[in-house]
């Protein structure tokens, strides 16, 4: 009896370890997560319009009053350089890694300008960029993020349905492989 109790205690301890392992591994193996669902929109390294309404929306809980575009990227070969004309009204951008962690975000006011010119680089890539400064990146916002792959989500406010075509056009001109 005493021995069985010992095994039960061991089972509970092992259960605790399984609990921790499951919680930590869920983001890696989740099939419905945002990073995985965005692959269904088309190839990586290109911005795709993300529907915010309806049953086919790849990301749950998006604001139906905003227009969205997302680009899956990898930093394995080179830093991400993103350019987007954006709109005169509220817009924001968020960088997620492939586990869905929100690593960096900014909006039109914090960017201080109307268009978006953003570089995402790993610490090593940033050292290389500093050694060989590129004139094309002079005006870019450079962010150092310890990540290998992920996606960037642009959102732009559509105050009125009549403004939607212009907003969608600005988002469709977003480029996540700029020079």
């Amino acid at each position: 009896m005493k021995r069985l109790a010992l095994y039960l205690l061991g089972g509970l301890l092992l259960g605790g370890i399984i609990h921790i392992a499951v919680v930590l591994l869920v983001p890696r193996f989740a099939t419905r997560d945002a990073y995985g669902a965005l692959a269904g929109l088309g190839p990586d390294d290109v911005f795709h319009a993300v529907p915010a309404k309806g049953t086919g929306a790849p990301i749950a809980g998006l604001d139906p009053r905003m227009a969205y575009a997302a680009c899956r990227f990898s930093l394995a070969e080179r830093p991400l350089h993103l350019r987007a004309p954006m709109t005169g009204d509220f817009w924001s951008a968020a960088v997620f890694d492939d586990r869905g962690n929100n690593l960096y975000s900014l909006n039109d006011r914090t960017a201080g300008r109307r268009d978006l010119d953003l570089v995402v680089a790993t610490p090593l890539q940033l050292i290389r960029l500093r050694e060989n400064p590129q004139p094309a990146l002079d005006n870019a916002i450079v962010v150092e993020l310890p990540m290998s792959a992920g996606f960037i989500l642009l959102r732009a406010f559509v105050g009125d349905p009549t403004l939607e075509p212009a907003t969608r056009k600005a988002l469709s001109e977003a480029d996540c492989t700029a020079g």
Partner: protein
């Protein structure tokens, strides 16, 4: 033989407690870090890189991409001020003022976040189109039937209200002092 039986018991207990508690803690919503303001709840750590593992797991299972701390803050409500679950069979009044934000939107959806289809094509209100009173406060009528003033069409079944504050100082200063609108039940059919 006895050893084998004991080992089997230990393994079954381990799997049952481990998987069971993990599933239980992840299915109800993020278990830690929620801040309640009236009927509204928010997770201020949502948009930060150092969100806790439970939060990350829940977000990954739901397939959501939360607002970053540089973008804004999201509040959710599924109950009225009386504590009853929001349901499309009732009419509600969402009334009061909003915390400071450059822009906010308030939308109604089902509990999975899918917008209600409606002929008016109206899924919510934003801060620039809403009709306000002279003191700057507002009242939104959440109902299936047409209402005067700010009418937000409800669909069918349980309702989730989502308030998104874009570019708000609350992401820096914290939400403890924020005053959010009340959700009052008017009538049920």
């Amino acid at each position: 033989m006895r050893l084998l039986a004991h080992l089997l018991v230990a393994i079954v207990v381990a799997l049952a407690t481990g998987l069971g508690t993990a599933w239980w803690m992840l299915s109800a919503g993020p278990p830690f870090g929620a801040v309640h303001r009236g009927v509204w709840v928010t997770w201020p750590e949502a948009g930060r890189a150092d969100a806790d593992p439970y939060f990350r797991a829940v977000e990954a299972r739901r397939g959501v991409a939360p607002l970053g701390s540089g973008e804004g803050l999201t509040f959710l409500a599924t109950r009225d001020d009386g504590g009853a679950a929001l349901d499309a069979a009732c009419t509600y009044r969402v009334e009061g003022t909003m915390p400071p934000a450059r822009l906010w939107t308030l939308t109604a959806s089902d509990t999975d976040g899918r917008s209600f289809d409606n002929p008016a094509g109206r899924f919510g209100f934003h801060s620039r189109e809403i009709l306000r009173r002279e003191d700057g406060s507002f009242a939104i009528a959440l109902s299936r039937s047409v209402q005067p003033g700010n009418w937000l069409p409800a669909g069918r079944g349980p309702i989730l209200l989502t308030l998104r504050l874009y570019d708000t100082p609350l992401t820096e200063s914290g939400v403890e002092d924020a005053t959010l609108p009340a959700v009052v039940r008017v009538a049920c059919s």
